[in-house]
């Protein structure tokens, strides 16, 4: 198959970038989108040119390293991450535009590689249950109804890729934050810190420059892990409880 690629090239965060037209000829229909980029890159390298920088790792949709926007859609068409997109889904001769995630809080490092450390800082503010190794009671001591465990798992499936913020017109990270808050706050182990967690993670999110949710649901539409936007409702609820509890002195 043959494709016309419009690839975003940018030397570094301090340079401005532009689209470069690259022909991707003679591409096997069976290969994945990333393997198509591998082929293009190896051709560039063989002629002594610098390949297009893009990140990937597990290539089976679970590590969350992919950060591509394909034809305007973060993580590309179909379900799953960009590594799960296959070339047979395109038509021969298609023009395909490939950009990095676009969000102020994800600055571009080079070409299609972005800096997502903002998500790390949000996690460090409250994305955990405070406990210490060795102090745990027997695992069977805590009974958790299957329905609750399943809901927590639905939210915990988030792969932390950042597509939600990249898709959102407000660059909101609330699907990511909501997924973690929902996962932990639903479980009995997470209850003691539930309000503090929601408050701390929302504040960290604001500090990073992410916007707020205004119900576009673009995040849910692109989420490769299928996280439901209802996690944002829980986040709002627990966040408000956190703010009120702090105002009345119920939590510090």
């Amino acid at each position: 198959m043959n494709f016309h690629l419009r690839l975003w090239r940018q030397e570094s965060g301090s340079n401005s970038g532009k689209f470069e037209n690259i022909e991707a000829g003679n591409i096997p229909a069976e290969c994945s989108f990333l393997e198509m980029l591998d082929i293009v890159n190896n051709r560039l390298v063989a002629s002594g040119k610098e390949p297009v920088a893009f990140e990937s790792d597990c290539r089976e949709g679970i590590c969350g390293t992919c950060s591509l926007v394909i034809n305007g859609v973060p993580q590309g068409p179909g379900r799953g991450a960009a590594c799960q997109v296959y070339m047979r889904k395109f038509k021969d001769g298609d023009t395909i535009t490939v950009e990095p995630f676009r969000a102020g809080a994800f600055p571009i490092l080079k070409d299609l590689v972005v800096n997502r450390s903002a998500y790390e800082r949000i996690m460090r503010a409250g994305g955990f249950i405070t406990e210490h190794t060795g102090g745990a009671p027997d695992a069977s001591a805590i009974l958790i109804p299957k329905a609750v465990a399943d809901k927590a798992m639905d939210a915990a499936a988030c792969i932390g890729c950042g597509a939600c913020a990249a898709a959102c017109p407000n660059s909101s990270a609330m699907l990511f934050v909501g997924a973690k808050v929902t996962h932990l706050n639903l479980l009995p182990q997470g209850k003691p810190e539930a309000k503090k967690r929601a408050r701390a993670m929302v504040r960290a999110m604001d500090d990073e420059g992410f916007g707020n949710c205004s119900n576009y649901y673009a995040c849910e539409a692109v989420c490769p892990a299928g996280v439901n936007a209802s996690v944002i409702a829980r986040l709002n609820r627990d966040y408000i409880l956190g703010e009120i509890s702090e105002a009345v002195g119920a939590i510090d």
Partner: protein, 638 residues
């Protein structure tokens, strides 16, 4: 050189308890004075970094990914074993211990495996307390399932994403410690060398993958938690970035590399479709419950599968192993598939595939039942191959999945280099010649949460009052200089062949000659071919761009350069181990009916290799495996 595994005295059930009762402790005020480097942030690295920071040590943790959460432990699917006996089906620490020793074909160290089985129970408690959403029964109890190599249900799981949830648990504990300022996290930072001061591991040299900056880091001890070397085969179920560089660099600084020939090949993966392919995807082994494996009887029969009549099909597993049939063990299934393909009867592109046919099951049970059981796998298969397994047989082929070999460690998880500790898949210790399913996650977390926090004191307590280690020492400057030279050497070849091509070629050599079946002749050829390929690499490789920049060609070139050296040691180990055991099958050593034939009199020992300088032949050091608690027996597959 004589290896001392430092196994505690006493009966096997008492060794770990005895050890803990007499272990050297570091008091809290002194813990603050010690700095620990943890390389890698998978299950072993994240759990170790978080736990040691909780204890009060100063921790620096490094990963090459952009986040600790992306380490390849995240991709593990099936589950984690623990001897909880919640099912009341007769499980015990002893049974988990015995199953693991037997599954490893009696080539693992008894005392380590017993400890692993013992602490397995604590891991589940720890993970639940962190909020890992394990599968539950309606009443709220934890659910279990059964896995290969066991007659009890002891596997805990979180859908098909157990590795993801366990890693996110460890990552959340790590994030907490980073937020508290007790761990300094270095993402996008790759370890390129180990620094020894007076023969002790006291630091590392890293390259920042964004800026290209090469930098030294000093500490009181170094923990390598850098995973396995499956990517030496190029195509594997590993992530693209998985590499041998950290452990190989440690080997070249004097750490012993143990049993590199013990590699695990998983029988049911989606086959290679062409030269462009970058990785292989696992299809759950459970599919073999309802699928029948076959290839055409005639060589080069390229008719469509539905056009091949019953009498022209060879259901080779059912034919060769009538009692196990399609559920023959992993190593047998993998080897048989390779034999059929080597015989020219493989199917699909390149003839490297066999059919896994569900048509009988669909006839018997209906498509709906099959969809209920395997729908998500069929969907994944169709997404990747564009073929529907409801309409035509799946094509599958074995792929490299895990590596049991790794750096040699003693009972304390310390290598022969004082101060260098090795955890998780990166060490050699617990799985022998074959790993059982759901045991990799168990070992990674056991090492990080419950072993190293106790054993680290043995080394650190000997380090009081020593001179302060800083990166100003000449040892750091010298190692840093050597790293810079190696980077510059890669950039200055200026050939025109992309790194991937060398990697792919290396993978083919190893896969064909040191894969599922190995022979003396093939291994000798492989060593010659790898040497020649390495020479070509250093003349023809193309690494465009600069060192002081985000340069992915350079990252890969460094890793492949190390694989090109390591591959030779892998073949040498396979050549020296003149027996068959677990995942290591030497064609010269098989029973008349084609089963693995061990030679316990000569080979019941760990083979650990010591670097003897560039071009020198590595020296073999043996650690005899003394079995006190179990009797060596032949694994029966029939």
């Amino acid at each position: 050189m004589k290896l001392d595994a430092k196994i505690p005295a006493g009966p096997i059930e008492q060794k770990w308890t005895n050890f803990k009762n007499t272990a050297k402790l570091i008091n809290p005020a002194n813990k603050r004075k010690f700095k620990i480097i943890v390389v890698g942030s998978g299950l072993a690295g994240s759990s170790a970094a978080a736990t040691l920071a909780e204890l009060g040590y100063q921790v620096d943790c490094f990963c090459f990914q952009d986040s600790a959460r992306r380490a390849h432990s995240i991709a593990a699917q099936g589950g984690i074993n623990a001897a909880k006996n919640y099912q009341n089906d007769g499980d015990s620490v002893w049974r988990l211990f015995y199953d693991t020793i037997k599954g490893g074909d009696f080539r693992a160290r008894e005392a380590n495996v017993y400890r692993l089985a013992e602490v397995s129970r604590n891991i589940i408690d720890e993970c639940v307390s962190q909020g890992v959403p394990f599968a539950r029964e309606y009443g709220g109890e934890l659910a279990n399932r059964s896995f290969g190599g066991a007659q009890v249900s002891r596997t805990f799981y979180a859908r098909g994403q157990t590795g993801q949830q366990l890693l996110l648990g460890a990552y959340s504990a790590l994030s907490n410690q980073i937020g508290l300022g007790r761990v300094t996290m270095h993402e996008h930072t790759e370890m390129l060398d180990l620094v020894l001061v007076n023969g002790h591991a006291k630091g590392i040299v890293t390259r920042n993958l964004i800026s290209g900056e090469i930098q030294s880091h000093a500490a009181d001890t170094v923990l390598l938690c850098t995973g396995g070397y499956g990517n030496v085969f190029y195509l594997s179920t590993n992530a693209r970035g998985c590499n041998v560089t950290a452990t190989w660099r440690a080997y070249k600084r004097g750490a012993l590399f143990a049993n590199p020939c013990y590699t695990q090949i998983h029988p049911t993966c989606i086959p290679v479709a062409g030269d462009y392919q970058s990785k292989l995807t696992l299809m759950s082994e459970s599919l073999r419950n309802d699928g029948r494996v076959w290839v055409p009887k005639k060589k080069g029969d390229n008719r469509e599968p539905q056009d091949i009549p019953e009498e022209d099909r060879d259901y080779y597993l059912e034919r060769k192993y009538p009692s196990y049939g399609n559920l023959a063990p992993r190593d047998i299934s993998s080897r048989s598939a390779k034999e059929a393909c080597d015989d020219g009867r493989g199917v699909g592109p390149g003839g490297l595939g066999v059919y896994l046919d569900f048509s009988d099951a669909i006839k018997r049970l209906g498509a709906k039942t099959i969809e209920e059981r395997y729908g998500n796998l069929f969907e994944m298969y169709e997404n990747i191959t564009g073929e529907s397994a409801y309409e035509r047989p799946m094509r599958i082929y074995p792929a490299i999945h895990y590596t049991m070999g790794g750096l040699w460690v003693d009972y304390n998880l310390m290598s022969n280099i004082p101060g260098l500790h090795v955890l998780g898949e990166a060490n050699f210790s617990d799985h022998g010649a074959n790993r059982l399913g759901a045991s990799a996650l168990m070992q990674g977390l056991a090492d990080g949460y419950f072993v190293i926090p106790y054993t680290l004191g043995e080394y650190l307590s000997s380090q009081f009052g020593g001179p302060k280690i800083t990166t100003d020492l000449p040892e750091f400057k010298k190692t840093e200089q050597e790293v810079r030279e190696r980077v510059n050497r890669l950039l200055s070849v200026k050939g025109n062949v992309p790194v991937d091509e060398f990697h792919r070629e290396l993978g083919l050599i190893l896969w064909n000659k040191c894969g599922m079946a190995r022979s003396e002749e093939g291994l000798k050829q492989a060593i010659v071919e790898i040497k020649a390929l390495r020479e070509r690499f250093w003349k023809e490789v193309s690494v465009p761009g600069k060192g002081a920049d985000l340069n992915q060609s350079l990252e890969r070139a460094g890793r492949v350069a190390d694989f090109l050296e390591f591959g030779e040691l892998l073949c040498l180990d396979a050549l020296t181990r003149e027996e068959s055991c677990g995942g290591h099958f030497r064609v010269e050593h098989q029973t008349p009916d084609g089963e693995a034939l061990r030679h316990d009199d000569t080979f019941a020992s760990v083979f650990a290799w010591m670097f003897q300088g560039e071009g020198g032949a590595p020296e073999l050091v043996k650690e005899p495996l003394e079995y006190e608690a179990v009797h060596l027996a032949t694994r029966s597959y029939k």
